[in-house]
């Protein structure tokens, strides 16, 4: 598992669930129901202010764990794994609450850890 903080473009459904994303110029689609939770931040070390009225997102941030497959490459969407053996990627994404920007936190790729 690697730790990242790389920018990702994510397209969400109306209810706010990620559906597809573009990472490093390449499009991916979700191939499984995503899992969402919240993780604590070390806000006292990372932030310089925490005035009353800061709103949500000081203490925790939202994490989405998604499984994605690249779109429009060797395999047709929806087709079974092809000879190249494209396995779904498991990614942990986080959305910055105030800017709404998504970042890639971790990549789980089953066998190997990949780091940036």
């Amino acid at each position: 598992m690697g730790m990242f903080s790389e920018s990702v473009d994510v397209v969400c459904s109306a209810s706010g669930q990620p559906e597809s994303l573009t990472w490093a110029g390449r499009p991916y689609a979700l191939c499984a129901e995503p899992v969402r939770w919240y993780e604590r931040r070390q806000w006292w070390a990372e932030d310089s202010r925490a005035p009353l009225g800061s709103g949500a997102g000081v203490v925790d941030h939202e994490i989405w764990r998604v499984q994605v497959l690249p779109v429009g490459r060797t395999s047709r969407p929806g087709a079974p794994e092809d000879a190249a053996g494209v396995e779904p990627l498991t990614l942990d994404l986080t959305r910055h609450i105030r800017s709404g920007r998504w970042r890639l936190l971790r990549i789980h790729d089953g066998l190997r850890h990949r780091t940036a």
Binding site: V35, W37, Y38
Partner: protein, 1162 residues
């Protein structure tokens, strides 16, 4: 369907909850909720506020508690297995609420009432089970919620499945049927961690498996997501660990999701949990419906379930009455007329009877007769104990109180209005406050418990909220900042609300240096200070803990403990979890039994006078009292010399002369710098002047500029003006200026004819904006209707508006003025005994050392500590020999010496006198450090002198120091065992080896300050004298001879710092310093505060430049322009010609311990 939150901590869950009941209730109602629970941790601390908030928001209250449960398998006294929420069921005539109260009291029954006690507030499961059923009907009246913090929830860590199931089954087996539900909570933490959806799913499955209903909550700690960081800081304050430490353990809240989520959000959460469990839409519907069903069961009817606003007083039989209480009250009042108004007849009698009828009519109408009889009973009981007691407050306005001996002020004589106390328009139980000697207060409490029975009495509690200093300390702790650094910052915070910290940084000169550091954060990369400010603001006002209220005692009938939970107070006596704001809503009768140190000091002085003088003749001679017509002295002095202070006539000229001299240090209510200035200007001549003086020295009159016109009119500098001739009778005694509440009432009544009861309602409404508008409308319309011209109406309305809510009740003023007069009388006639009483009971605002300076000024010798003559209290002593022979002096007490324990003190006094150190060691078993400290203070000097020998005090201290550091069996050859029985005097002392130079005066004073916080041998400023002469400083005793407006330098040690409210709202800082010749009161206006900056509040020794302001014939103060820290010699403004100053030792050098010498920490 709406959603009801059933697990909500309010801010009254100290160091846990973030939001106030009002915010929560309003948010819930705004989201369409029809009910809301309040489940504070460990108690019902916020329950009554919650009730009030829910009623205001138009929703039903639900009440409960979040309680720790002891581990059945662990040590019952200390091991807690988890926490559960317990909700009371409603609409059962209070059966649910009663059980809840008793359960909460059970949880506290084993705690010590002291901070950091070993036993936590918790119940056993057996107690919980037995309380869930109503003892009469055996129906369930409580519901227990097993959630993520229960032992079941806590056992879900890792992959253990069996353990949570076993624990859940134990609950189901142990609790009566229908009293347990599963509480499903997901705060969306990472899968598999506490408060995760995965754990919620497991709890849901357990419930299904055991056929127990499941409900969903959000375990709320804050109203909105914004509260999450505050909750983190509170976790830190509760556990005394910094946030980085807590994050490492990990002990912080799992996420920041614990807010009062909306109905939509809760439904979404439910959907998420149900779907993760693999259940369907019907299950979701059931989960939400069960939650609402439980909510419906628990809706509370404030009136029928909790007795909302229904006054309850002790049963008549308890106070020994077997007839109708009102008939009893009438009889007692009639009997009182003979005692209080002997021989009254004609018009005077008519006036008394008419007033009595009027009061009794209102009391009967309100049904408060038993209340008056109860208060009379308590009052009689205290007086039977021989304790000084005096009613204070608006109760003094009542003739009934005067007749039944609750109050000792005649309301007819002082023109006090009953409606200010009680009226048909005011149906709440009125306050009657009783002042007693502070030293006897706890005995009085115990006696009340005995008299009424512990089931009918409990102490009231008070909530202690964060103020700026505490908030900055705990915010600093959370951030892991250095203690000393935070301490330094906290020291500079002075009387402003933490909520305004950032604003204060811009404005307050003493914070300028800190503000600079906050701004420099970008360059230093230090973000902590900026966060510190934010977190301090977040903590503002949040409750920290409850403690015993300084005077409130709750009296009820045999059902009192069904209506309030109690816990042990620090005193050991039970204390209600409700505070003064909860009394009226809960119909509780609260009696304020206030310990007044001045009452103790005066009682002490009276006893000392008897002890030192053999009889009346000697007391009369010593006090310069009048001989009386038959030459045997006044009647208020008994044959044994006992003075009946309450009988002393209120017209003693020597007493008023003392008051006018402004040397009123130690006198009740009139010793502060501001009061000394006011009495200097006012020059009181009679008792009513004292009432007016005390009433004027209040925020209202000061702010609304009543004082200056009053003084001008009083001294005839300006003609008295009345807005209208009709108001002359109302305002004449205060020269046309409105001072008293009573005058407001009469003004309103005179100009509108509204009646006094209505007038008092109006006066109360004037405190709020909406109320003010209504009163204005009424006043203008009716005054106009009665023919008052528009400009009269305008002018009077201006006065009413600015003053009504701040003014002072004349009854209070009259009650206060009595001890003021009595203390000044004692100071004028028996200053030695009075000062001894002040030292013993420390009633004033000044540090004790200033009273030493006052004794010095009065020429009263202070006798040093002596192991054979000093006792456990200060004593007046006739001096046998020397230059002061025959005079009365005050012998220092052994009490209050640093490090000397109470047990040691007791043994010393029991064993007196001692003929040697060995004798002292053998019989008092003093510790070695205590003996050395006593030696440092010179307590053995007289023994030493008697023993002879060439050594001095320094040699003795050195010798004792060596003994102290030697361990094991004694090695010293100086100590001879068994000398005790030989009448040889003290061989140890006689044989001491001389060699060291005798301690200097400065060293002696340093020891006195360090160990007793007083400078006895000489004034601590004495060693600064050469320096001050070089600076050209003027001493306090010379100031009065200077012209108004003379520029001077003064120097001294700080004795008081005050920031009274001022006209225009600009802060004014009063700093008083003492230079050994007296006190200098200086005023720092805005600009001087700017130049003084951090010196304003942080410095012990001050040099101040300013110009003299004459405040009256005998008063002078200083308007400061600049200040310096006297201990930083290099910064001082020496004249150019002055030679360099040598640095000499000073008494305060090297004492880093906080000493109680400056009037605040420092």
């Amino acid at each position: 369907m709406s959603f009801t939150h059933l697990h909500v901590s309010t801010a009254f869950s100290a160091h846990y909850g973030v939001s106030w009941p009002e915010e929560l209730a309003m948010a819930a109602a705004a989201d369409g909720a029809t009910a809301l629970a309040c489940t504070d941790r460990d108690g019902l601390y916020g329950t009554i506020k919650h009730l009030k908030a829910c009623m205001a928001a138009g929703i039903d209250p639900i009440v409960g508690v979040d309680l720790a449960v002891f581990d059945d398998d662990g040590d019952h006294r200390t091991q807690v297995s988890g926490r559960v929420v317990v909700l009371a069921r409603g609409h059962n005539n209070g059966a649910g609420y009663r059980a809840l109260c008793r359960l909460v009291s059970d949880a506290h029954a084993r705690t010590s009432g002291k901070a950091g006690g070993a036993v936590p507030a918790a119940v056993t499961r057996a107690e919980l089970a037995s309380r869930t059923l109503d003892p009469q009907t055996l129906k369930p009246v409580l519901t227990v919620l097993l959630g993520p913090d229960s032992d079941v929830g806590r056992a879900m860590g890792g992959r253990r499945y069996l353990r949570p199931r076993t624990l859940f089954k134990q609950w189901v087996d142990a609790m009566p049927a229908g009293t347990v539900v599963a509480e499903i909570v997901s705060q969306l933490s990472a899968p598999g961690t506490p408060f995760s959806t995965a754990h919620a799913v497991r709890m849901l499955r357990l419930a299904e498996e055991h056929h127990i209903p499941a409900i969903i909550t959000n375990a709320v700690r804050y109203c909105a997501a914004d509260g999450a960081p505050t909750a983190d800081v509170l976790d830190s304050a509760r556990t005394l660990k910094s946030l980085p430490e807590l994050a490492g353990e990990p002990l912080l809240q799992p996420t920041g999701q614990g807010w009062l989520k909306t109905r939509e959000q809760m439904l979404g959460l439910g959907r998420e949990i149900i779907s993760a469990a693999g259940y369907g839409a019907a299950d979701l519907k059931q989960l939400m419906a069960q939650t609402e069903a439980l909510a419906d069961l628990c809706r509370i009817d404030p009136v029928n379930d909790m007795g909302w606003k229904q006054p309850v007083v002790p049963e008549a039989s308890v106070i020994g009455i077997n007839q109708d209480p009102h008939a009893e009250l009438i009889q007692r009042c009639q009997a009182g007329i003979g005692r209080r108004f002997p021989g009254v007849n004609g018009m005077a009698e008519q006036a008394v009877l008419a007033r009595l009828d009027h009061e009794l009519g209102i009391i009967h109408n309100l049904g408060f007769s038993s209340y008056f009889l109860t208060v009379a009973e308590v009052s009689r009981m205290i007086q039977d104990m021989g304790v000084r007691a005096a009613a204070r407050g608006s109760g003094a306005s009542s003739l009934v109180n005067y007749l039944i001996e609750v109050s000792h002020v005649n309301p007819l004589q002082h023109d006090l209005i009953f409606e200010r106390f009680l009226s048909n328009d005011r149906a709440t139980l009125p306050d009657i406050d009783i002042d007693v000697e502070s030293a006897e207060r706890h005995n009085v409490y115990r006696r009340i418990f005995e008299r009424f029975g512990s089931e009918r009495v409990t102490l009231m509690s008070m909530q202690n909220g964060y103020r700026a200093r505490g908030a900055v300390r705990d915010a600093g702790l959370a951030l892991g900042m250095d203690d000393d650094e935070v301490g330094e910052i906290a020291k500079q915070l002075w009387r402003f609300s933490a909520r305004k910290f950032r604003e204060a940084l811009q404005e307050k000169p003493e914070l300028r240096e800190f503000a600079g550091r906050v701004e420099r954060r970008d360059t230093d990369g230090n973000q902590q200070l900026d966060l510190l400010v934010d977190l301090t603001e977040r903590l503002d006002r949040l409750p920290r803990h409850i403690s015993m209220h300084p005077c409130g005692v709750i009296l009820g009938d045999a059902t009192l403990l069904d209506r309030t939970p109690v816990q042990p107070s620090g005193l050991g006596l039970p204390m209600s979890q409700f505070d003064k704001h909860d009394m009226d809503p809960m119909g509780m009768l609260k009696l304020d039994v206030l310990g007044v140190r001045m009452q103790s000091a005066m009682a002490f002085a009276v006893r000392e006078i008897i002890r030192i003088h053999p009889g009346k003749e000697e007391v009369v001679a010593a006090g310069g009292h009048p001989q009386g017509p038959d030459g045997s002295g006044p009647d208020y002095i008994a044959a044994d010399g006992r003075i009946d202070l309450n009988a002393v006539p209120l017209d003693d000229e020597a007493t008023y002369e003392l008051i006018r001299s402004t040397h009123t240090l130690g006198c009740f209510q009139i010793e502060s710098p501001g009061q000394r200035e006011l009495i200097g200007k006012m020059a009181p001549r009679e008792f009513n002047d004292l009432i007016i003086d005390i009433s004027l020295f209040r925020p209202g009159p000061m702010k609304s500029d009543m004082v200056r016109p009053f003084l001008e009119h009083r001294h005839g500098f300006a003609p008295e003006v009345y807005p209208h001739p009709d108001l002359k009778p109302v305002l004449q005694e205060t020269h046309g200026v409105t001072v008293f509440h009573e005058q407001i009432l009469k003004t309103l009544d005179t100009m509108t004819g509204c009646g006094l009861a209505k007038a008092d309602e109006f006066r109360r409404s004037l405190g709020s904006e909406s109320g003010e508008a209504q009163v204005e409308e009424y006043f203008r319309r009716n005054a106009k209707g009665r023919g008052y011209s528009p400009d009269v109406v305008d002018k009077v309305w201006g006065t009413l508006k600015s003053f009504a809510s701040f003014g002072f009740c004349k009854a209070h003023g009259a009650a206060f003025a009595v001890p003021t007069y009595q203390s000044a009388w004692l100071k004028a006639h028996h200053p030695e005994a009075f000062l001894a009483g002040l030292w013993e009971h420390d009633p004033g605002m000044y540090p004790k050392r200033l009273l030493v300076a006052e004794a010095r000024r009065l020429g009263i010798p202070i006798l040093p500590l002596d192991i054979n003559r000093s006792k456990a209290e200060y004593r007046v002593e006739r001096i046998a020999s020397g230059q002061d022979a025959g005079k009365l002096g005050i012998r220092l007490s052994l009490n209050g010496i640093y490090g000397l324990s109470a047990a040691e003190l007791k043994r010393i006094v029991a064993g007196q006198p001692y003929d040697s150190l060995a004798d002292l060691r053998a019989r008092s078993r003093l510790s070695k450090p205590s003996i050395r400290r006593l030696a440092q203070l010179g307590a053995f000097d007289s023994l030493h002198r008697e023993a002879g020998g060439p050594a001095n005090r320094a040699d003795l201290v050195h010798h004792l120091q060596q003994l102290q550091s030697s361990t094991g069996p004694r090695k010293g050859t100086d100590v001879v065992d068994g000398q005790l029985s030989l009448p040889l005097g003290d061989i140890e002392l006689r044989n001491l080896k001389p060699g060291l130079p005798a301690p200097t005066l400065v060293e002696n004073v340093r020891a006195e300050l360090d160990l007793m916080a007083v400078d006895v041998s000489t004034h601590l400023m004495e060693s600064h004298r050469p320096l001050l002469e070089k600076l050209g400083v003027t001493t306090a005793d010379q100031l009065l001879n200077l012209r108004n407006g003379t520029e001077v330098l003064v120097a001294g040690v700080r004795v008081a710092t005050q920031t009274p409210p001022m006209r225009g709202g600009r802060r004014v800082v009063f700093i008083s310093i003492d230079d050994g010749t007296g006190c200098v009161d200086s005023v720092f206006f805005h600009e001087a505060q700017e130049t003084a900056g951090p010196l304003l509040f942080g410095t012990r020794l001050l040099l101040i430049r300013g110009t003299t302001r004459r405040t009256g014939p005998r008063g002078i103060s200083l308007s400061a322009s600049m200040a310096w820290d006297l201990s930083r010699t290099e910064t001082l403004p020496f004249p150019e010609s002055a030679a360099a100053v040598e640095d000499v030792p000073h008494p305060l050098d090297g004492i880093s311990r906080a000493l109680a010498i400056t009037g605040f920490n420092g």
